[in-house]
Each structure stands twice: as structure tokens, then as C-alpha cells.
Symmetry: C2
Subunit: 421 residues, 2 copies
């Protein structure tokens, strides 16, 4: 997410905004208003600054990158979140404000303070987020100069423009809505995300901004977000590179007027948690589909592991193997590369005779070698489509994990080698 894709070498074409699911249009969230304006942060005439206003009384939960070199806005957002309930999210693309040291932190603070003066709130009530190139100074003057326009244009309907403004190497905006019932009333949850490269969220995510009008207890809000992220944003990888700026925030405006949900197992909370998890999984899938250069969406299941970390270790080894990823690009059922990746994952005492590997529904490996019933034709059929399933059973226990990834294509190299040139 920290680099410009070709499409980012200028303003995004201002054509029709394609939602992920055209049949499922986004719903505005009562208590949330947004604006997207062009601040000229990296390119002229491109909407690159998004302001999101939250109604008074909104509660926020968040998860952030675990990269030790976390960006200045991550440091400040964490600090401000601990100090006060947020009233604004201020998001820029085109510059990550990462690797910028103490000056970067002051730049982020300055943006928040300027917005606070404009809005008549405290600087701590603004959470900053940045995405784009690492290591360049944030152009504070240009960003701040665009704030009055953003402030003036805040509107409940501006989600699609906002989803576009936060993009970097993404080729399409990612915006999803769900409805669910709370106390017999219809609640809504809507979220947008960005991300295409430098994607291997680790206990956090790329940038994702979610909001619901339901009221929730703070503890339940944070627990629900952690639960949803575990199977969505934390279960995808494009290139294994965890970003310095990953963040996922969830606002509950409470505008719906319900008694705040507290019990995670109540029917209302269950409905909320399910909607949230589905939303996150849909956004996460959209990120992998839009992975830099991706031509395949690959669902990787590792089961019969001793524990979940072990399952994840095998899944990550396969998902990050350049040889597996180039074979996926070629639609080549080169299962020897999957087998070699399982073998090098470092599982102590792995009994290879118990390992089975499937491509789609086709069993390819068992008893330490190729299944006698396997045919190259069946393997080719399983690799032909745009969506590929790989399943590995380790024969060691009951734990299971599921990871989404994509292939490694010429375009991944092109996008990332031509960056900045």
C-alpha cells in the first residue's frame, strides 16, 4: 500500500465508481458525514484527502500495524484514541508520513490541530491516517489549505468519493454495506478499505474505515473488531510485506438510539458481529482481488495442524513462495512446489506420509508422493479458473486456518519496479 501503481501516476479516471457488489449499494451511516477533496499531496487534481466526521457520543475501536517502524499518524492516532473519543478521522493518500522521524510526528500533530481549530474541537479528537510513499515529508501546507473545503463539503452520501480518495495502487474503490437488526430496528454498517500491495496485515490491517449507527459498549466494540479482523484482514497476504501504516477503525455513532449492546452473545450483538465480520471479509477479499498484478484469487486452507500458529506457518510459507505464486500465475498445476513449501515450513517431526494436498477437489499428494489417481488433466482443470483452492491436511491435529492470497505476475514486478521512475 506504500507505493504508487501505474494508475496512480496521475489522477484516477473520474468514471463511474464501481462498487464491489453492484447489486448491494452502500448505505450512508446516520451520524457520519464525509468529504473528499484534492489537496495536491502527491499529484495535482486528484482527490487525496478524506475527512470523516462522527456525531458526538460516537465510540471507536481500532487495530494498528505491528510493524516496529510504524508511521507518525499511527503513533498519533493511538495516542489520541487513548485521550478522547474521536470526532474526526483525517485521511490522506499519496504520502505515508512514515520513516519521517520526529518531524513527521509534528506534521501529523499540526494537521490535527488545524482541523480542530476549524471544527471547534480538541486536537485529540482527530485521528490521522496516511498512506502512500514512505520516507517523504508530508506536505502539511497543502494538506491544511484543503481542510476548509473538506469541512464545507461534509455530506452523509460521500462514501464513494471517500473510498476513491484513499486509494493508492488500488485499481478500484472498496466499499461495502450491510443491514442488521437491533431491537427490532434496522441498523446499518458501512466500510471502505484500501490496499493492493505491501499487504500482509499482522494483528492489524491496511487502511479500513468502518462505521455503524448502532450503539455498543466500548469493550464489545473492540472485541468484535478484533474478532472480525482475525478472519478477514489478518487472513490475507499479497506479498508478505507488512505495512508501516496499517490501521482499521470502527465507529459506532449510536445515532440509532438503541441501548448500547454489551453482551456479545445477545441476539442483537450476534447480528452486529456477523454483519461486521461479513463486511470485513468482503473488504479483505476485495483487497486480494485487487492485489498488485493479481490474476488469481487463491484460497488456501491448512487443516489437521497441531495448533493455529502451525497451520498459519504452513499457509504463509505456501502463500509467500515465489515458485508457488508464479505457478499460479501460469495456471500450472506444479504441485511439487506446494509440497516443497510444506516441507520447508519447519514443522518439527512432520510425517510426510500423512500429508495430503488438494488442488480444488482433486487429491494430488498422499503417502509422500503423487496420488495414483491424480491426472495432469485434473490438475490443469483445477488451476484454470480465476479462483483457485489449495487445501493441505497435515495429519497432526485439529487446528485449521484459511488464508487468501494471489499470484505473482509480470505486472507485480512492473508495478513495483516502475514505482518512482
Amino acid at each position: 500500500m506504500e507505493q504508487a501503481r501505474q494508475g496512480d501516476s496521475g489522477p484516477h479516471p473520474e468514471g463511474e465508481i464501481r462498487l464491489i457488489d453492484e447489486a448491494n449499494p452502500f448505505h450512508p451511516v446516520p451520524g457520519v458525514r464525509l468529504a473528499a477533496v484534492a489537496a495536491g499531496i502527491r499529484y495535482p487534481n486528484r482527490q487525496d484527502l478524506c475527512l470523516l466526521e462522527l456525531a458526538p457520543g460516537t465510540r471507536c475501536a481500532a487495530v494498528f500495524t505491528r510493524n516496529a517502524f510504524c508511521a507518525a499518524p499511527v503513533i498519533l492516532a493511538r495516542r489520541n484514541l487513548a485521550a478522547a473519543p474521536p470526532r474526526f478521522w483525517l485521511i490522506n493518500s499519496g504520502n505515508a508520513n512514515a520513516g519521517t522521524g520526529p518531524l513527521g510526528l509534528r506534521a501529523a500533530e499540526s494537521c490535527c490541530a488545524t482541523l480542530a481549530r476549524l471544527a471547534g474541537c480538541q486536537a485529540e479528537e482527530v485521528l490521522p491516517f496516511s498512506t502512500g510513499v514512505i520516507g517523504e515529508s508530508l506536505p502539511v501546507d497543502r494538506l491544511v489549505a484543503a481542510l476548509p473545503q473538506a469541512w464545507a463539503e461534509l455530506a452523509a452520501e460521500a462514501w464513494p468519493r471517500a473510498a476513491r480518495a484513499i486509494m493508492t495502487t488500488d485499481t478500484r474503490p472498496k466499499l461495502v454495506s450491510r443491514r442488521f437488526a437491533v431491537g427490532g430496528r434496522e441498523a446499518v454498517i458501512t466500510g471502505m478499505a484500501k490496499g493492493a500491495g505491501m499487504i500482509r496485515p499482522d494483528m492489524a490491517t491496511m487502511l479500513a474505515f468502518l462505521a455503524t449507527d448502532a450503539a455498543l459498549d466500548q469493550g464489545l466494540l473492540q472485541a468484535s473488531l478484533a474478532e472480525a479482523v482475525a478472519t478477514s484482514f489478518n487472513a490475507i497476504t499479497v506479498d508478505g510485506d507488512t505495512s508501516t501504516n496499517d490501521a482499521c477503525v470502527l465507529a459506532a455513532t449510536g445515532t440509532l438510539g438503541n441501548t448500547p449492546l454489551v453482551d456479545a452473545d445477545s441476539p442483537d450483538a450476534r447480528a452486529f458481529r456477523q454483519a461486521l465480520t461479513e463486511l470485513c471479509e468482503e473488504l479483505a477479499t476485495a483487497i486480494v482481488r485487487d492485489g498488485e498484478g493479481a490474476t488469481k484469487l487463491v484460497t488456501l486452507v491448512v487443516e489437521e495442524a497441531l495448533d493455529e500458529p502451525e497451520a498459519r506457518r504452513v499457509a504463509d510459507t505456501i502463500a509467500h513462495s515465489p515458485l508457488v505464486k508464479t505457478a499460479l500465475f501460469a495456471s500450472d498445476p506444479n504441485w511439487g512446489r506446494i509440497l516443497a513449501a510444506v516441507g520447508r515450513a519447519g514443522l518439527p517431526g512432520l510425517d510426510i506420509d500423512r500429508v495430503r494436498i488438494w488442488l480444488g477437489d482433486t487429491l494430488i499428494v498422499r503417502d509422500g508422493g503423487r496420488d495414483p489417481g491424480y491426472t495432469e488433466q485434473a490438475g490443469r482443470a483445477a488451476m484454470a479458473g480465476a479462483e483457485i483452492g489449495i487445501r493441505v491436511a497435515l495429519g497432526r491435529g485439529q487446528a485449521r486456518t484459511r488464508v487468501l492470497t494471489c499470484d505473482l505476475s509480470y505486472d507485480y514486478v512492473k508495478i513495483n519496479a516502475e514505482y518512482r521512475t
Copy 2:
């Protein structure tokens, strides 16, 4: 090493064999005879079978892959090495005999037994090695049919032909010699290696075959090999994919007639160890230079780590980052990607303010951000050449590691996506 490069889609051109160092021609090793013949294992009319004969009394040391899915020849070579001192190494390219289950083991046994009958030795005195495609049955009949010719053509001068016969996706043979003094007499050590992809040796190596005419105690021989491998074959990575077939064997024929070396710190043993380590490092460097699609040779030094595993973890994270590798391909001093890789390596309590990063001699990162003296021009100059140095100081301790790697280019994708098609 388990796939065919374009150049492997037919026989290698029979032009002049280019040694790594034309000014330093190979030396035959007294007590060693070799032959290379065309067995038609994967392609017709390509030399793909190498036989190496060792004088009676030769001692052998070896290290093998730690991939759990190790190939049938690795299993059998380990077993035979424990049973008897080897008299023959039997090496084929074009087929790895890996992922082939019990039938693969029987195939390897059958080849060794046939050679043993021909040579009048025990089957346990033959060590088998295979490299090539994973998961296909070894064509035992064709391999065995070529053994009489190989047996008839054994010659001390055949190292260059042998170094070519063991190649798969390599674009050039890798053959190196050194001379050293033992007891006032001139001894020789010569080695050949193959490997270009699926290269991340882990406590072992790709295929490398080394021989000296000096006599050494078995314990010193094995310890010297382990020592040399640590800083050579185990300190390189092309794509992070550890092979199923890695092996490195070293023979000491004793033909020189010296009293076997025992004390590692004696002058003669030191001379041997130095020659061996230099030989291995030169071969390892040749493998990275010949890395699939490689256009850059990258020397990565991580220092001031708490311990060596921690230094290696950071080095591997950088060396395997697709974003770093594509930036290297583009000669782009995109140091933010290096910084992000260091940050995601998972070092507990890493103080980013103490981390410094250099490109060549140019300091780029300190105090959590870009060095004020850094200029894009200096960064570009450091990235322009075919050899690039990256140095990371962690500010945590005294441990240091050095890893060689290469870039990620279009050709890496091409070579590995077009395989088998």
C-alpha cells in the same frame, strides 16, 4: 533448482565452457575420475548423467537439505553414507526423484545397485543425487542404460563436462579450484555446484560436489565442511524456497599421501579450511549471480544484533521482500521498503531510533527517519551498479550476519511461469 529454465528446454549449447574465473583454471583431483553422458532423462541429446569415481580409502563428509519432503536420493545417500565409505557419486539432472514416495526410493536403490554390479562394489558404496522436476518418476531404464558408457569414459579431466551435466536452470557451469600446502606438498581442492532457483539452503545446500587429494580425519572433514557451508551456501537466498534435494558432499581421496590431518588448528588444516571456505563462497556467489532472472548481486549485512539468529531473521526478511527485490531490479533507492522490512521482522522491543541503514557507503536512515545528509542522487548512485550493498545496524548487540541475494525481475516470473508449458 527444481525447474527448467528456458535454456533447459533443450540441450545446452555446446560452446566453450566458461569457468567462473578464466584466469584460475580448474585442477583435476588425484584419486577422482568423472564422466558425463546423455541418458535422455528429460531431454534427448543432453548430458544429464554424471558419474564420479573416488579412489579406495576416500573419506566423505556431507550436509543435506532440511526440507521435510526430502527427495529419495537424499534419503538413500544419507543411509549409504552411514553404511560404507563411498566409491561413487551418481548424479542426474532433469528429474529430482522427489515427491515420488516408496517407488522413488526403489528407483534410486535400483540405479545404485546396477552401478555397483558394473563396478564390482557394494550398492552402499554409491551415493545418488538428483535434481530437476519434482514429482515425476525417475526413468530408471534410461539412466541405467547409460551407465556402461559413463563407466567406460571415466577420466580425471572431465570436471568441466560434469559441471555442465548437473545444471538445470543454471545458465553457466560453476567450477572452482584452489591449491594449498600440506606438509610442504601442493594439495588441490576442486568443486562444482549447480543451482539458480529454489535456492534458500537451510543447514545444507543445493548440489555441490567437492574433492581434495589431501587426507583428513573424518571428524575434521565433516567439521570443516560445516564451517565452510555456514558462510557460503547457507548464507545465500534467491527466492526463499528451500529445495527438497539440497546436498553438498566433500571427498578427501588421500592420494596426496600425507598423514591424515586431525587438529583443526594446525597450519596444514588451517590452509585446507581456508581453501575450502573460499571455494564454497566462490561457488555460492556464482549461484546467486546466476539466480533465476537475476540482474543484481546484493550483499546484505546486518550487524549490532543481539544474536546471530536475530541478525539472520532481519537479513532474510529484507532478502525475501518482493518490494525490496523489485526496487533492486529497478535500481531504485526506495529505502522505505528496506525500513519497512526491518520493522516487520518481529524483533521484540526494537528501538527504531537506534537503527541505521546504509546503501553502499551512503547512510540513509537514522533516528527513525531519513538521514538529513541523504540525497536521492547519492542513493541512485549506490543502486546503479550490478553489485549492491545494503547494511543495517540494529543498535542492540554485537552479532552480525552476511547474506547474498539477488533482485526479482520479469525474467524470474517468466522462467518460473513458463516452466512445463
